[in-house]
Each structure stands twice: as structure tokens, then as C-alpha cells.
Symmetry: C2
Subunit: 309 residues, 2 copies
């Protein structure tokens, strides 16, 4: 029994690894990323440096694997900058994995980290009936794999599930290629009590999930009872930037707003969200905004360079 | 001014080339396929043998190209048989072309031959609001490129249009990798006055378009006035197999039925079809079943090996 986690050096991947270590009993857990991912304390972990663009050698990476959490992706901003490079990771790599599993005929659970980017920009409340119309190339890439996943599930090659993740906080500081990085930066600014200018307005509304809750949902997806091949929007908290700032900052006046129309359109206009299918299948948002903030601060501290688990 | 036609050795590609020759005034027309395509009588035609799986050398194929009709594809049956091979042609090749055009920043019309396979199996009448839910890997591949096309159009890399073609008749006899090949075979059987057993019932209903009308629509798409990046379902005749058999065969009793549940589900249960957007943009079905049959018989005779244009 081997579980492969791709993108395991990323901030969500690290939370997944830590959660698996805490849970125990997951057999072999193979963590992979372009550079060798950190290994949490616990037994059964392997770390493998692997370029997922190198689809010729997937057989070594996938040897013995019967469960996958596929997190590896080039994020939205970077995808718009370099479409061909991003495609190798966002489209070719998951397709090659699915085709490999199809060919070897090994039943495998494939948890695909999709994204609300597949929904595009939407004015009306979102629910399970909302038709995805991606508004970015990144959203298009994610939607393309959801569609392929459903077909490989129909063929019986994988027991696939796509989980559409919302804005996940808080990504470490530094260049991320993520157009929505300001959401994470807000948490870091609050922790460091420094002023910040946001590219969205105070009344911008967003869907948000802590990295730990995202990890919990991804691991839950490994064994939840759900129709094969389906993609679901993950539960998330729906909050305004103002609510977030009020809760995060002792002095909310430290936050200024200089809305960028494009970012406001893509990341600041998220309507009400209901996720009946995902909720029924046991997926969860953070319990409250307070709980989310506590979870995020705990992650940031645990992953700070000075505190190595 | 150079127009590239991929899949130009196929039966639709040949009709496109002949139509372009009849029209004249299309500048350079570069016909390409894995093997060198036939060139119709007329000036300006080039024939190039090119493996679209070889995306490293697209620059030579696309040199000077400002209009593309992209027909090359591995059909549905063959795609289910060999997903990874099919993906190279159905997904990687058009993505690489779109990425190449995006990178060189050359405005290019990109007419993408999509397919009604993106719609999946549908019980209710189809119109422009129908949500695509592919039921085959081929349909998934086609839908993936529609989604990418809309994003490259948004980015301004191409003036893209996807045209969802229905069952096109009549493909030449012989192995085609097409699960719906029986539709074409029916025409050949009628021409040769020989008995045939169909894998669908007499009351099976299908959408159908002659190869010549398909070619006309694809060429029309080069210059029609339509929103960039959109994909449209092409108008088609909606007929039952019984209507077709009655019209085609002097002795309809030559046709027997041994329905295959899977083929009946995929190709014999097509509901009413309205295509307001495509019709408004000037796309057309064959005028009548009689006109379609005449057009198909003319194509078969013109493309028969003994009659080289």
C-alpha cells in the first residue's frame, strides 16, 4: 500500500504530510516534488525528487502506488506568463499519470486538487449545479483534467475524485506565481503587525480555507464514499475582506485598499457558496473565521524555518 | 496569407481542399497530414507530410500561417483503444499550436473541428444552452481543447472558433477507428446494393451532415462574424435510421438490425437539435435528406481511386 503525494514541498503538501504522520497507519507514503520534499517525523515516509514534466519515467515514481494525492501545479499567474511550461505540469503530467494507471490496469484512488478557478467569474450564488466556465488559463487547465478524470474513472482505470479548492491560506511569503497571493500576505502582515495595501476593496468577498483544513479534506478524499470520477467544490468560508481585516489586525487602519480591476474581478467577487454534495460526503470548511485564523497562524509558525518538525 | 489545413488526407480534409480550389483566391493553402495529402487542381496548394505528434518542429509547419482549419484527430474508437497515443494528436498537438501562436503573437484564425461527442449522451433536446458532459475519452479530448481555445482567444493569441460536427458521411470504407463507422457504411452498402446489418435499431435517431456540407461550414468559419473563442454546435439533419434506409435502399429489407446497447446509447439516441447561434452565424445543415444523399454519393464517386481529380 503506497500513497503518492505530488507537490509535497508546497505549503499544502507539507500539511498533508504532517497530517498523515499524525494519523499513522497509511503504509508507505512517497512524497515527491521537483526538489526532495521534507519528511515529517513518523514511519513509512519516502522523499523523491522528480520532475513531473519528465513523463517518460513515471513507472519508477508510480511503482506500487495505489493511492495518489495530486497537488503539483503551476499556479494561475505563472500559467498566464508561460502557458507552454505550465501545461507540462498542469495538463501533461496528470494525463500521463492517468494514462499510465489505465495501461497497467492497477486500481488506484486518484485525488485531484482542482480549483475554484474552473468556475470563472460568477455573479450568482454557486452550488453543485453551477456550470464551470474558466476565465483563466489555469482554470482551463484544471477543468481539462477534471473532464479527463471523469473518463478514466468511467473506464475503470482510477477511482478518481476532483476537489475544487478555494483560496488557501497562508502560503509562505515570497514569489509564488499566484495572482491571489495577497490573501496569504494579509495573514503574514497581521502576524508581523505591519501595514499592507490590498489590490481588492474592503467589501470584496472571498472563499477561504486554511491549509490544514485543505489537507484534511484531501486526505478525507482518499477514503470518502463518493461516485467515481466526480469533481466537487470544497466547502469554504465566505467572508469579506473587511471581516478578515477586522479579525486579523489590532489596528485595521494598517490595511489600505488600491483595487486592481482584474484581481477584483477574479478574486474579490465571489458570491454565496453552497456545497451540498461535498458536505454530504464529509468535506468541511474551517469551523469559523476565528478557527481559520488560529489554524493559519499555527501553520505559519510550524513551517517557519526556525521551527523544523 | 497562408491557410493551413491539418488532417488534409482525411475525407473531410479532401473536401475542404476541393472547395478551396473551387473558390480560389485563398492565397497559399498548406495541406498537411501524416502522409503527404493529395493536392487538388488549382494554384497555391502545398502538400506537407508532418506528424503532429512532433510538436518540436511546429515552427516550420506554421511558418507564415495566419489561418488554420484543424481537422487532425484520432477518432473515438481508436482513442478508447489507445488513450496515450490519441492524446498526442487530440490534445497535445492543438495545444502546442495554440501555445506557439500565443508566443509568436501572430493574429491567426483557428477553426477547430470539434465534435458533438463533447455533449455526451443526452435525453432532452439540444440547443445552445446544453451543458457538455462528454461520455467518451474522445469527447473529453475535444472538450478540453474547446476550453483551452476560449482562453487563448481571451489572451488575444488566436481568433478561435470551435465547430462541433455531427456524424459526417460518408467516410471511405475500411478501418477508421470510428465507433460510428456504421453510418458511413450504410451509404456504401446502398451504393453497392448489398445487404447490411446495423448495430442500432430502426428507430434510432441521429444527427447527420454530408462531408461536403461539413467542408463548407469549416471554410465559412474562416471568415464568419462571431465572438472569438466560442464553440458552436453545427446545424445537422435529425433523422431516424429508418428514414435514411427508406431513402437509400431500393429494397429496405436489405438492412437488418442487431442493436449494440453501447453504440445505440452513444450514436442512436440523439434528440431534437436546434442551433440558433450557428444558424445566425450562417452555418448550415444539408438542405434535405435527399440533398444530403446526393452530396454523399457525389463525394464517394469523386474520391473513388479510379477518379482522381
Amino acid at each position: 500500500m503506497t500513497l503518492l503525494v505530488t507537490g509535497a514541498s508546497g505549503f499544502v503538501g507539507r500539511e498533508v504530510a504532517c497530517l498523515l504522520a499524525d494519523q499513522g497507519g497509511n503504509g508507505v507514503v512517497r512524497l515527491t516534488d521537483r526538489t526532495e520534499p521534507p519528511i515529517p517525523i513518523g514511519s513509512g515516509f519516502e522523499a523523491v525528487a522528480f520532475d513531473l514534466g519528465d513523463t517518460e519515467h513515471l513507472d519508477t515514481l508510480l511503482e506500487g502506488v495505489d493511492r495518489i494525492i495530486h497537488l503539483a501545479a503551476v499556479p494561475g499567474g505563472a500559467t498566464e506568463q508561460a502557458p507552454a511550461f505550465a501545461r507540462r505540469i498542469n495538463v501533461d503530467a496528470p494525463l500521463a499519470i492517468l494514462e499510465f494507471l489505465d495501461q497497467v490496469g492497477r486500481p488506484c484512488r486518484f485525488v485531484y486538487a482542482s480549483s475554484i478557478a474552473i468556475l470563472g467569474t460568477i455573479a450568482t450564488p454557486v452550488d453543485d449545479e453551477t456550470v464551470p466556465v474558466p476565465a483563466t488559463l489555469y482554470g482551463a487547465h484544471k477543468r481539462m483534467i477534471e473532464i479527463a478524470l471523469s473518463q478514466f474513472a468511467r473506464r475503470g482505470s482510477v477511482r478518481g475524485i476532483g476537489l475544487r479548492l478555494p483560496g488557501i491560506v497562508a502560503r509562505p511569503m515570497g514569489p509564488s506565481g499566484l495572482a491571489s497571493a495577497f490573501m496569504s500576505e494579509l495573514f503574514h502582515a497581521a502576524l508581523e503587525s505591519r501595514p499592507m495595501t490590498l489590490p481588492v476593496s474592503a467589501d470584496a468577498s472571498i472563499w477561504i480555507l486554511s491549509a490544514r483544513q485543505a489537507a484534511w479534506n484531501l486526505v478525507h478524499a482518499l477514503h470518502c464514499d463518493i461516485e467515481d470520477g466526480i469533481s466537487l467544490t470544497c466547502p469554504a468560508l465566505h467572508v469579506t475582506i473587511e471581516q478578515l481585516v477586522q479579525q486579523l489586525f489590532l489596528d485595521p487602519a494598517q490595511v489600505r485598499h488600491a483595487p486592481d480591476p482584474e484581481l477584483q474581478r477574479l478574486f474579490g467577487s465571489q458570491p454565496a457558496l453552497t456545497t451540498p454534495s461535498a458536505t454530504k460526503a464529509g468535506f468541511r470548511a474551517d469551523e469559523s473565521l476565528e478557527a481559520l485564523i488560529a489554524s493559519v497562524f499555527a501553520s505559519i509558525c510550524a513551517q517557519a524555518p526556525s521551527i523544523v518538525r
